[in-house]
Symmetry: C2
């Protein structure tokens, strides 16, 4: 089934993918070249897992998880399978976030730095806890067959809003983390002297914002929504007569409230 505005979608998706990939390269360049690499020894190299895992998992993978329903070449797959992929990507992102937090606590404890004093830490821990809640509720409501359809539909607006808000918040928290780390870590020259490391990591921050903006754009265009499964089925089996689409679309709403995954999406002026 062809997607409306496929060319623009492809551009946006390619840009998001490329920028996300560059972010991962930049964060690796940061810790491997400018900082003390990666290790699990309670020192600075253990801390470095924090930005690496947040960028690769909690930002990049979460972003991909958000738009996974939008990819037109997956519209042949069952909705159930796509839900599992969406949940699995979010689960991996969550695991990355938890390990990245353990790395910071280990580093702080070894260096006698207090935990949880900064706004970055307050908002970051809150985001991880709410993300866990979102995962548990999402699995309970959309993947357990016994959950009533009415609950799925009723919860969908909140699920989509929370998902996009959490994704946005995680990027904001990462920007605060970058700010903190550059101020603390750069000494001679300092952050204010704009050494190459500062420029590289500032650029990483700008690209994280661009990645987030593209994911939010892709996720909120109504014309890029995955068609309802019943419409796909109708089109494939009946040739897609308009009356059939209407009937099947209505029955789809009754049979699976989870099809409303795009509650938060933009809509044309109609």
């Amino acid at each position: 089934m062809a997607m409306e505005g496929l060319w623009l979608f492809s551009v946006a998706l390619s840009a998001a993918g490329a920028i996300g990939f560059i972010c991962i390269i930049l964060v690796l360049r940061w810790v491997l070249y400018f900082r003390k690499g990666l290790a699990w020894d309670g020192g600075a190299a253990e801390f470095n897992w924090h930005p690496v895992l947040i960028v690769t998992g909690f930002i990049f993978l979460q972003g991909i998880a958000i738009i996974v329903y939008r990819l037109p070449w997956t519209w042949q797959c069952s909705k159930k399978m796509m839900k599992f992929i969406h949940a699995a990507l979010n689960l991996v992102a969550f695991i990355f976030a938890v390990i990245s937090m353990v790395a910071v606590f280990d580093f702080h404890n070894a260096a006698n730095i207090p935990n949880m004093y900064s706004l970055h830490s307050w908002l970051g821990l809150t985001a991880v806890i709410l993300y866990c809640l979102q995962l548990v509720l999402g699995v309970g409501i959309y993947l357990i067959p016994a959950t009533p359809v009415s609950w799925r539909a009723a919860f969908m607006p909140l699920h989509v809003y929370s998902g996009l808000l959490l994704f946005t918040s995680v990027i904001a928290v990462a920007l605060m983390g970058i700010t903190e780390k550059l101020i603390f870590a750069l000494d001679n020259p300092k952050y204010k002297d704009s050494p190459p490391e500062a420029i590289l990591v500032n650029a990483l921050g700008v690209l994280l914002v661009l990645f987030g903006a593209l994911i939010l754009w892709i996720a909120t265009r109504a014309s890029w929504k995955r068609p309802k499964d019943q419409i796909l089925h109708t089109l494939h089996s009946n040739g897609g007569g308009e009356d059939n689409i209407k009937v099947d679309s209505a029955s789809s709403q009754l049979s699976d409230g989870a099809d409303a995954e795009a509650f938060y999406t933009g809509q044309r002026n109609s």
Copy 2:
């Protein structure tokens, strides 16, 4: 005309108003009690205008400007008047942002601190420039009568998306600013020792996120959208027969693409 879910809307609006008001109190408490008050002398008291003007103008006023079309007691007012109020609030927010930036540059120059080295400054200046562009394009497209209706409709998705993204970005930049300022300004005790000032300003940051989350929730509920003017007119003059609504709704789209201001809003599963 009654709003669907008016009770929940009232709760969300009251919460946003109260939290926004508390944010303004907290930022004033911060600069007046913990920092050197407010003045325009090139020193720390001039810098203090920066957080005060950003919180009151670039965050609180911008937030109100975003949801001004949602207030049901304004639905009796003409759309044109509401557009002027929306534009005026955004203009005041922009002026506050510009003055707040001048305060920082003055302070930096007087203290020989380099300008524009931090990620906070890069993203903050970008947000102000894009906000200016959004204002100019918004006025040109939606307030100048000569602009073709087709342009208004075509630009609306981008206008709404950009508006919400800029609002979100400004809050993220403010959180980075809070982080920077607390690290630089707190010395004995330091930020990591969690003195009362750190707790107060961290709480301000948390409340700014809550304010933003509430504004985004209010702005993206389809059921809280302002009805099209022609529907209001029809309901008032004809008693609101269904056929009339349909006809007038269609003519509304043709006559004023700007009615699509809520492109980005959430939609029910339909």
